[in-house]
């Protein structure tokens, strides 16, 4: 969406009248100002991450520093007080496992609910829909109680597994599969495929765009999640990068420039995902947002 010619909400030729020209200039001016404001925080991350301690709070604060201190990278990753690599690895593992697991369990369930006739399917579907009324974050205390009983505190299982069973993702998959062209599935049946074969060899390969859209949303959500990892990852060895950043931000035990650089490193993977897969992300947002 959105590429190419503007969606014309004005009569043809309007843009060539004086009022139209002034309007255009004003619009671009407003957009440019807004764009600078939106990009500024990202720039501050880079600027402060590659500055010295003094350059961040000194009276002669400059927007563009005279020298960029690239050696800060070595300092950050060599600082034994900051479990940078460990936290990043934890975050990658959690986000990848959670994304793949959620897609696997929720798409299967969504397909079953949409396409396999079963007497009590409606009751199961209502049990899924009922969970949409309560956001997972609101029940973090109850979930903590269950996870700690299972002995999963400061454990990868506690971070990943409770987030796999999203009623909302299953609901979205069900709605999507309801609109999947039946002819393709019938052709698969004639070729002798069962439910599993139809799903795995015909439905999934023809739905990769939808899977990608939900995967991007899920990955970003998992990478940026904070409250649940804060509650579960109590030992430093199980910290995700968000918990590590937050601990150093609130306790302020490390140098400010290291903190900014760590934050910069933490958003780099996401900015890459964002730039490369923005198409899917936009689709994911419109799919999940409107129906949320």
């Amino acid at each position: 969406m959105g590429d190419g010619a503007p969606h014309v909400h004005r009569p043809v030729g309007y843009h060539r009248t004086p009022a139209g020209v002034i309007g255009s200039v004003a619009r671009y001016l407003a957009l440019a100002v807004a764009a600078v404001l939106f990009l500024l925080p990202f720039y501050l991350l880079v600027r402060n991450g590659l500055a010295t301690e003094r350059e961040i709070t000194a009276p002669d604060w400059q927007l563009v520093p005279e020298t960029w201190h690239w050696e800060n990278f070595a300092e950050l990753f060599g600082d034994p007080a900051v479990p940078m690599v460990r936290s990043l690895v934890n975050s990658v593992v959690v986000a990848v496992l959670q994304t793949l697991g959620q897609l696997f369990f929720c798409s299967l369930a969504g397909y079953g609910l949409a396409r396999i006739p079963y007497r009590h399917a409606n009751k199961v579907f209502y049990a899924v829909v009922a969970t949409l009324m309560i956001p997972a974050a609101v029940t973090f205390v109850p979930s903590f109680v269950v996870v700690s009983t299972l002995g999963w505190l400061s454990d990868l299982r506690g971070l990943v597994i409770p987030g796999l069973f999203s009623g909302f993702t299953t609901f979205l998959f069900r709605q999507y599969f309801l609109n999947f062209p039946r002819e393709l599935e019938e052709a698969a049946r004639i070729d002798g495929l069962g439910h599993w074969g139809t799903y795995w060899r015909v439905v999934v390969p023809n739905s990769l765009n939808f899977f990608a859209a939900l995967a991007v949303i899920s990955f970003i959500g998992s990478w940026n999640a904070f409250l649940w990892p804060l509650v579960i990852a109590q030992d430093e060895s199980s910290w995700t990068i968000q918990v590590a950043l937050s601990t150093f931000l609130t306790a302020q035990r490390i140098n400010v420039h290291e903190l900014f650089l760590a934050a910069l490193v933490s958003i780099l993977p996401l900015v890459l995902v964002f730039v490369a897969l923005q198409r899917y992300l936009v689709r994911g947002v419109t799919e999940t947002g409107i129906k949320g």
């Binding site: 990009l39 369930a109 923005q278």
Partner: protein
């Protein structure tokens, strides 16, 4: 899983018809079962367990010890902090919901009306969606609103001859609200802008042409009489989503206002309050924590039920 495939592949058509119902039952549970078990253990069980715990004393234990009836609920609803947290949420929502609505709609209209560099602007406004609240809190707290005279916000104030402000440390007037609200705006405006752009592009062009023929001038009149009514569904969705998101606010409050000495007694939205009362340093109180979670869940379920009434969960099917 292979059993399902084998069942479909090898059984002759007539046999399959005869065993059809049972075969489908098995297939249904093979597809839905793993998810259903997960949902039962990690969604329904916690809620049920908490509902039970909420009628008991449960200090530093997750098993019910002494039955106290409705005492936990009475405490929550009569002692100040829980109700104050709902007040904090209401105040936050009062700022964030209308501001997000107006500004994201404005961005969508602007982006949608330009031709050159449209994709660029859309991406720039959307980019903060990839940023976490923790990172945004870091930038807001230690760089833009760091409270020292040479911080970015105070430098800008200085240009206009105004005095420096302590921002996150300022409670009278409560400038920390400005920090929290601008942070969330930066992070979520792009998301809702995308929803509005999608809504705008669904408006049929002929409605605008008809309006011009009727003499409506491009600009306010067509916006008021064509665009806004056509965006009704999107608008309601955006309002509800921002409200529900504000209800769950935790990350930026915790990271902007929390310090090495703990969290200040004010500005605690519901989840922050619950975090410190149920899991905070003063020991774990799961009886009250569960009662609070149950109350918050009931409250939000009410809102979502209203939302379901507005949209209907089966809209796609008709």
């Amino acid at each position: 899983m292979s059993g399902v495939a084998g069942d479909g592949r090898t059984a002759p058509a007539s046999a399959r018809r005869r065993t059809g119902v049972r075969g489908n039952t098995l297939a249904f549970w093979l597809f839905v079962g793993p998810f259903a078990i997960g949902l039962a253990v990690f969604v329904y069980l916690p809620i049920g367990w908490s509902a039970l715990l909420s009628f008991f004393d449960a200090y530093n234990t997750v098993t019910p010890s002494t039955f106290v009836g409705l005492d936990n609920y009475v405490d929550m609803l009569t002692e100040g902090p829980f109700l104050r947290s709902l007040g904090t949420f209401s105040l936050f929502a009062l700022f964030i919901v209308p501001l997000t609505f107006v500004l994201s709609l404005a961005l969508a209209l602007l982006v949608n009306q330009v031709g050159f560099a449209r994709t660029f602007f859309r991406s720039v406004f959307f980019l903060p969606t990839a940023c976490s609240y923790v990172v945004a809190a870091l930038i807001w707290k230690l760089s833009i609103f760091n409270g020292v005279r040479y911080g970015l916000a105070n430098t800008v104030l200085g240009w206009f001859g105004a005095d420096s402000i302590a921002w996150t440390g300022s409670t009278n007037p409560p400038w920390y609200w400005l920090v929290l609200v601008t942070l969330r705006l930066w992070l979520q405006l792009g998301f809702y802008m995308i929803l509005f752009i999608a809504g705008l592009q669904r408006i049929p062009q002929h409605l605008y042409e008809a309006a011009w023929i009727d003499g409506a001038s491009p600009g306010w009149q067509t916006f008021r009489h064509v665009t806004l009514p056509q965006l009704r569904t999107t608008s309601v969705a955006v309002l509800l989503l921002t409200l529900i998101a504000a209800y769950q606010a935790f990350d930026e409050f915790y990271n902007v206002l929390g310090t090495a000495d703990g969290y200040p007694p004010f500005a605690r939205p519901p989840l922050v309050y619950l975090y410190y009362s149920a899991l905070g340093s003063g020991g774990q109180d799961f009886g009250h924590g569960s009662a609070g979670a149950v109350l918050l869940a009931l409250l939000i379920a009410l809102v979502t039920l209203l939302q379901g009434k507005v949209f209907g969960f089966t809209r796609r099917e008709d």
